[in-house]
Symmetry: none
Subunit: 219 residues, 2 copies
Amino acid sequence: MNDKFVGALRIIALMGGIHDYIAISSRELGDMLGMSQQSASKRILELLDKGFIHRDLGARRQRIKLTDKGTDLLRKEYLEYQKIFEMRDYLLIRGIVITGMGEGQYYVTQSSYQEQFTEKLGFEPYDGTLNIRVTPSDQSKLDSLRRGGGIVIKGFEKNGRTFGDVRCYPARIQSIDCAIAIPSRSHYSDVMEIVCRYHLRRTLGLKDGDMVEVRVSLL
Amino acid sequence: MNDKFVGALRIIALMGGIHDYIAISSRELGDMLGMSQQSASKRILELLDKGFIHRDLGARRQRIKLTDKGTDLLRKEYLEYQKIFEMRDYLLIRGIVITGMGEGQYYVTQSSYQEQFTEKLGFEPYDGTLNIRVTPSDQSKLDSLRRGGGIVIKGFEKNGRTFGDVRCYPARIQSIDCAIAIPSRSHYSDVMEIVCRYHLRRTLGLKDGDMVEVRVSLL
DNA sequence: ATTACTATATACCGAGTAA
DNA sequence: TTTACTCGGTATATAGTAA
């Protein structure tokens, strides 16, 4: 379906079009795709029509950048490859145990979140989270999770304060079922929070600085 | 070129065909690719012809698995996506540790800067900076940071002297949170200054001439 | 139920060329 | 130089059907 679009999108992304507008002529794109200038021009029009790219058609050179929809399409493909090469249905994320700032506990104990956790994840969470600082080489995996998919726990308002959506993925640590929780409006961070029915530190005898492996299910 | 093959190869791989033979009918494959049984059958023949898959055509059901060539094709695609997304949210800048001229320390110890660092970066900086001479091939990355974005630390006047704005980017060295600081009215330079809550030289055991990698967040 | 042939319909590509 | 028409040739997909 979108098969024929990803080739062109990937080239544009690789040239920097995932960050910002880049100047690229239909001839250049055609060369890189192994097709004619005419076909590349048509492909660009199709991408535009599908909403995968933005274009700024200057007098001399057109400038192109990916839309969020275009980026999401590529990210979805990326996740497929991760599934194939990392594991079948899991993503293995490594990190070390750290002490968080108590935010997780604050969130988990909100009754609205708690009810949804129980309903959508199938367990009643312990009133605290385990914080993992993800190793640099696995941070791109965490980012893929941040972007889409997972189970959405709806946010709510209470006493004038807004609690945003939280994205969850079922996971396991040493064969104990748990879930990783990612606030939707989360800023850049290499910290991953784990919710679980048990007090993971006690149950697994974990202390700060211990290395753990989390197997995250991709549905 | 091989564009039309990867879709089918990916599905076969995802079903386990990257490890071992799997039973998959042309109808099933067609459904998953959004095409007819006839077309999927033809596609399988083409994959066979190109040497991307092995097939064991049993009486009832055919069994398929990827060849090394097929796996390599997918792996090459995977690498492309890694390039795209590893670079999307981070910039990796390499350089060597050098001894600066004490300017960094002079700046960081100004109380107005210090307060803003604490508020906007979330840590109170150690009263000195780590100076990195950026390797030539990464200097264009430094330049793009100089141009815009980041967190702005406002300048001020004191005793008739003007302290200009400083642009900061959250960053990490070996999983230690830090930030790179770039004076706004800075001239061209291949030196990058790092502010951090810790004395990085001591904490990481760095000395002049050591190579370091700084992972800069683009927000 | 399969896989895969043939014949026909459709989508795609690129040469020529206009703006 | 660009981008992007039209149009004719080719490659690709499907329906019908055989084995």
